[in-house]
Protein backbone atom coordinates (compact mmCIF):
# COMPACT_ATOMS: atom_id res chain seq x y z
CA UNK A 1 0.00 0.00 0.00
CA UNK A 2 1.26 3.44 -0.93
CA UNK A 3 0.71 6.22 1.62
CA UNK A 4 0.03 9.63 0.16
CA UNK A 5 -1.48 12.94 1.27
CA UNK A 6 -4.55 13.80 -0.80
CA UNK A 7 -7.25 16.45 -0.90
CA UNK A 8 -10.54 15.70 0.81
CA UNK A 9 -13.55 16.85 -1.19
CA UNK A 10 -16.35 18.64 0.69
CA UNK A 11 -20.05 17.75 0.42
CA UNK A 12 -21.25 18.40 -3.13
CA UNK A 13 -24.45 18.64 -5.07
CA UNK A 14 -24.67 14.86 -5.31
CA UNK A 15 -24.95 14.80 -1.53
CA UNK A 16 -21.71 12.89 -1.24
CA UNK A 17 -20.12 14.00 2.00
CA UNK A 18 -16.44 14.47 2.81
CA UNK A 19 -14.58 11.95 0.72
CA UNK A 20 -11.48 11.27 -1.37
CA UNK A 21 -12.02 10.84 -5.09
CA UNK A 22 -10.18 7.54 -5.42
CA UNK A 23 -11.80 4.16 -6.08
CA UNK A 24 -10.13 2.42 -3.16
CA UNK A 25 -8.53 4.18 -0.18
CA UNK A 26 -8.20 4.08 3.58
CA UNK A 27 -7.77 7.25 5.68
CA UNK A 28 -5.08 7.03 8.34
CA UNK A 29 -6.45 8.39 11.62
CA UNK A 30 -4.52 11.31 13.09
CA UNK A 31 -3.18 12.63 9.77
CA UNK A 32 -6.08 15.01 9.06
CA UNK A 33 -5.39 18.62 8.07
CA UNK A 34 -8.25 21.12 8.51
CA UNK A 35 -8.96 24.44 6.86
CA UNK A 36 -10.63 26.02 9.90
CA UNK A 37 -9.56 26.40 13.55
CA UNK A 38 -12.65 24.53 14.80
CA UNK A 39 -11.49 21.47 12.84
CA UNK A 40 -14.81 20.95 11.12
CA UNK A 41 -13.66 21.36 7.51
CA UNK A 42 -11.40 18.53 6.46
CA UNK A 43 -8.81 19.69 3.91
CA UNK A 44 -6.39 16.82 3.38
CA UNK A 45 -5.45 13.48 4.87
CA UNK A 46 -2.93 10.69 4.34
CA UNK A 47 -4.52 7.62 2.75
CA UNK A 48 -3.39 4.14 1.83
CA UNK A 49 -3.88 3.28 -1.85
CA UNK A 50 -3.33 -0.17 -3.45
CA UNK A 51 0.11 -0.54 -5.02
CA UNK A 52 -1.36 -1.61 -8.34
CA UNK A 53 -3.01 1.81 -8.68
CA UNK A 54 0.22 3.74 -8.13
CA UNK A 55 3.51 4.51 -9.85
CA UNK A 56 6.41 5.60 -7.68
CA UNK A 57 4.08 6.11 -4.73
CA UNK A 58 1.51 8.28 -6.51
CA UNK A 59 -1.89 7.39 -7.98
CA UNK A 60 -1.52 6.58 -11.68
CA UNK A 61 -4.52 7.49 -13.83
CA UNK A 62 -3.63 5.00 -16.55
CA UNK A 63 -3.44 2.14 -14.06
CA UNK A 64 -6.73 3.18 -12.48
CA UNK A 65 -8.44 3.45 -15.87
CA UNK A 66 -7.18 -0.02 -16.77
CA UNK A 67 -8.11 -1.62 -13.44
CA UNK A 68 -11.63 -0.14 -13.53
CA UNK A 69 -12.09 -0.32 -17.29
CA UNK A 70 -15.64 0.30 -18.39
CA UNK A 71 -16.70 1.87 -15.09
CA UNK A 72 -17.90 5.41 -15.94
CA UNK A 73 -16.66 6.99 -12.75
CA UNK A 74 -13.04 5.88 -13.22
CA UNK A 75 -12.49 5.02 -16.88
CA UNK A 76 -12.67 8.58 -18.25
CA UNK A 77 -10.61 11.60 -19.15
CA UNK A 78 -9.81 13.81 -16.18
CA UNK A 79 -9.84 11.07 -13.60
CA UNK A 80 -7.70 12.02 -10.55
CA UNK A 81 -7.79 15.72 -11.49
CA UNK A 82 -9.32 16.54 -8.10
CA UNK A 83 -7.22 14.25 -5.90
Amino acid sequence: MAKIRVNVLPPDTDNVNYHVHLPTYLMIAGTEEYSDPEKTKLKSVIVEVPDDECTEGKPDKDKIRAKYRGQPRWDREGVLSDV
Binding site: N17, Y18, Y25, L26, A29, T40
Partner: protein
Protein backbone atom coordinates in the same frame (compact mmCIF):
# COMPACT_ATOMS: atom_id res chain seq x y z
CA UNK B 1 -15.00 -52.93 -1.83
CA UNK B 2 -11.94 -54.71 -3.13
CA UNK B 3 -13.92 -57.46 -4.82
CA UNK B 4 -15.43 -54.94 -7.25
CA UNK B 5 -12.07 -54.38 -8.89
CA UNK B 6 -11.67 -58.04 -9.79
CA UNK B 7 -13.14 -58.84 -13.16
CA UNK B 8 -15.64 -55.98 -13.20
CA UNK B 9 -15.07 -52.36 -14.07
CA UNK B 10 -15.92 -50.25 -11.06
CA UNK B 11 -18.69 -47.74 -11.39
CA UNK B 12 -17.77 -44.05 -11.13
CA UNK B 13 -19.23 -43.75 -7.65
CA UNK B 14 -17.00 -46.60 -6.46
CA UNK B 15 -13.82 -44.80 -7.42
CA UNK B 16 -13.34 -42.16 -4.76
CA UNK B 17 -9.96 -41.05 -6.11
CA UNK B 18 -11.57 -39.74 -9.29
CA UNK B 19 -13.60 -36.59 -9.28
CA UNK B 20 -15.94 -35.34 -11.92
CA UNK B 21 -14.48 -32.65 -14.11
CA UNK B 22 -15.45 -29.17 -12.98
CA UNK B 23 -16.06 -26.55 -15.65
CA UNK B 24 -14.75 -23.80 -13.42
CA UNK B 25 -12.75 -23.52 -10.22
CA UNK B 26 -14.51 -22.47 -7.05
CA UNK B 27 -14.41 -18.75 -6.25
CA UNK B 28 -11.80 -19.22 -3.52
CA UNK B 29 -9.49 -20.86 -6.08
CA UNK B 30 -9.73 -17.98 -8.58
CA UNK B 31 -6.91 -15.71 -7.37
CA UNK B 32 -8.72 -14.95 -4.14
CA UNK B 33 -7.16 -12.01 -2.32
CA UNK B 34 -8.23 -10.53 1.03
CA UNK B 35 -9.20 -6.86 1.05
CA UNK B 36 -9.43 -5.91 4.72
CA UNK B 37 -10.54 -2.39 5.62
CA UNK B 38 -10.22 -0.92 9.10
CA UNK B 39 -10.44 2.67 10.31
CA UNK B 40 -9.91 3.17 14.03
CA UNK B 41 -9.68 6.60 15.65
CA UNK B 42 -9.90 8.15 19.10
CA UNK B 43 -11.00 11.57 20.36
CA UNK B 44 -12.58 12.66 17.09
CA UNK B 45 -14.40 16.00 17.23
CA UNK B 46 -17.93 16.49 15.82
CA UNK B 47 -18.01 16.39 12.03
CA UNK B 48 -20.38 15.92 9.13
CA UNK B 49 -20.53 12.50 7.52
CA UNK B 50 -17.09 11.52 6.24
CA UNK B 51 -16.13 8.54 4.09
CA UNK B 52 -13.18 7.08 5.98
CA UNK B 53 -12.50 4.28 3.52
CA UNK B 54 -13.79 3.00 0.24
CA UNK B 55 -13.38 -0.15 -1.83
CA UNK B 56 -14.46 -0.45 -5.47
CA UNK B 57 -14.68 -3.88 -7.09
CA UNK B 58 -12.32 -3.78 -10.11
CA UNK B 59 -13.46 -4.74 -13.59
CA UNK B 60 -13.31 -8.49 -14.19
CA UNK B 61 -13.49 -9.19 -10.46
CA UNK B 62 -16.07 -9.99 -7.82
CA UNK B 63 -15.83 -9.81 -4.05
CA UNK B 64 -17.36 -11.70 -1.20
CA UNK B 65 -18.35 -9.39 1.65
CA UNK B 66 -17.75 -11.65 4.60
CA UNK B 67 -18.08 -9.56 7.74
CA UNK B 68 -18.64 -6.04 9.04
CA UNK B 69 -17.85 -4.56 12.46
CA UNK B 70 -18.83 -1.16 13.82
CA UNK B 71 -17.86 0.32 17.19
CA UNK B 72 -18.49 3.75 18.66
CA UNK B 73 -17.75 5.15 22.11
CA UNK B 74 -18.26 8.56 23.71
CA UNK B 75 -14.91 9.66 25.06
CA UNK B 76 -15.64 13.19 26.32
CA UNK B 77 -19.06 14.66 26.99
CA UNK B 78 -20.63 17.01 24.47
CA UNK B 79 -22.17 20.38 25.26
CA UNK B 80 -25.18 19.11 23.34
CA UNK B 81 -25.18 15.51 22.17
CA UNK B 82 -26.52 14.82 18.69
CA UNK B 83 -26.65 11.75 16.49
CA UNK B 84 -23.21 10.21 16.27
CA UNK B 85 -21.91 6.93 14.99
CA UNK B 86 -20.62 5.05 11.99
CA UNK B 87 -22.02 3.09 9.08
CA UNK B 88 -21.10 0.90 6.12
CA UNK B 89 -22.86 1.29 2.79
CA UNK B 90 -22.73 -0.35 -0.61
CA UNK B 91 -23.35 1.58 -3.81
CA UNK B 92 -24.46 0.26 -7.19
CA UNK B 93 -24.36 3.04 -9.79
CA UNK B 94 -26.08 5.93 -7.98
CA UNK B 95 -28.11 3.78 -5.59
CA UNK B 96 -26.70 3.59 -2.08
CA UNK B 97 -27.84 0.99 0.45
CA UNK B 98 -27.09 1.12 4.15
CA UNK B 99 -25.73 -2.27 5.22
CA UNK B 100 -25.10 -1.52 8.88
CA UNK B 101 -25.68 1.66 10.87
CA UNK B 102 -24.44 2.09 14.45
CA UNK B 103 -25.47 5.34 16.13
CA UNK B 104 -26.63 6.81 19.41
CA UNK B 105 -27.23 10.12 21.18
CA UNK B 106 -26.09 9.18 24.68
CA UNK B 107 -23.81 11.75 26.31
CA UNK B 108 -22.40 9.48 29.03
CA UNK B 109 -18.61 9.16 28.90
CA UNK B 110 -17.55 5.60 28.03
CA UNK B 111 -21.01 4.70 26.79
CA UNK B 112 -20.38 2.45 23.79
CA UNK B 113 -22.25 0.49 21.17
CA UNK B 114 -21.04 -2.08 18.68
CA UNK B 115 -22.46 -4.17 15.86
CA UNK B 116 -21.22 -7.21 14.01
CA UNK B 117 -22.70 -8.99 11.02
CA UNK B 118 -21.54 -11.59 8.51
CA UNK B 119 -22.18 -12.99 5.06
CA UNK B 120 -23.51 -10.08 3.08
CA UNK B 121 -22.84 -11.94 -0.14
CA UNK B 122 -21.35 -11.15 -3.52
CA UNK B 123 -20.36 -7.76 -4.90
CA UNK B 124 -19.89 -7.31 -8.63
CA UNK B 125 -17.56 -5.05 -10.62
CA UNK B 126 -18.30 -1.41 -9.94
CA UNK B 127 -19.93 -1.94 -6.55
CA UNK B 128 -18.51 0.37 -3.89
CA UNK B 129 -18.32 -0.40 -0.18
CA UNK B 130 -17.77 2.63 2.05
CA UNK B 131 -17.13 3.16 5.76
CA UNK B 132 -18.52 6.36 7.30
CA UNK B 133 -18.36 8.31 10.55
CA UNK B 134 -20.57 11.21 11.63
CA UNK B 135 -21.23 13.27 14.76
CA UNK B 136 -23.84 16.02 14.93
CA UNK B 137 -23.03 16.92 18.52
CA UNK B 138 -21.72 20.26 19.75
CA UNK B 139 -18.40 19.68 21.50
CA UNK B 140 -17.16 16.43 22.97
CA UNK B 141 -15.27 13.63 21.24
CA UNK B 142 -15.94 10.08 20.07
CA UNK B 143 -13.95 6.98 19.21
CA UNK B 144 -14.75 4.84 16.17
CA UNK B 145 -13.87 1.56 14.53
CA UNK B 146 -15.24 0.65 11.10
CA UNK B 147 -14.03 -2.67 9.73
CA UNK B 148 -14.91 -4.96 6.86
CA UNK B 149 -13.44 -8.22 5.60
CA UNK B 150 -13.79 -8.80 1.88
CA UNK B 151 -12.22 -11.36 -0.41
CA UNK B 152 -11.76 -10.38 -4.04
CA UNK B 153 -11.56 -13.01 -6.78
CA UNK B 154 -11.65 -13.41 -10.54
CA UNK B 155 -15.16 -12.81 -11.82
Amino acid sequence: MRWLSVGFPARRRDRPSESQASPRAEWYDRNAAPQPKTYAANNVAPHVATQRWSYTVPSGKKAWLESLFLFVIRQTAATAAGRSGCAITVTQDALMVNLLNNEFTDNTVNHLKDMFATNFGILVAGNVVTGWTFDESTGGTMGYTIAAKLTQFDG
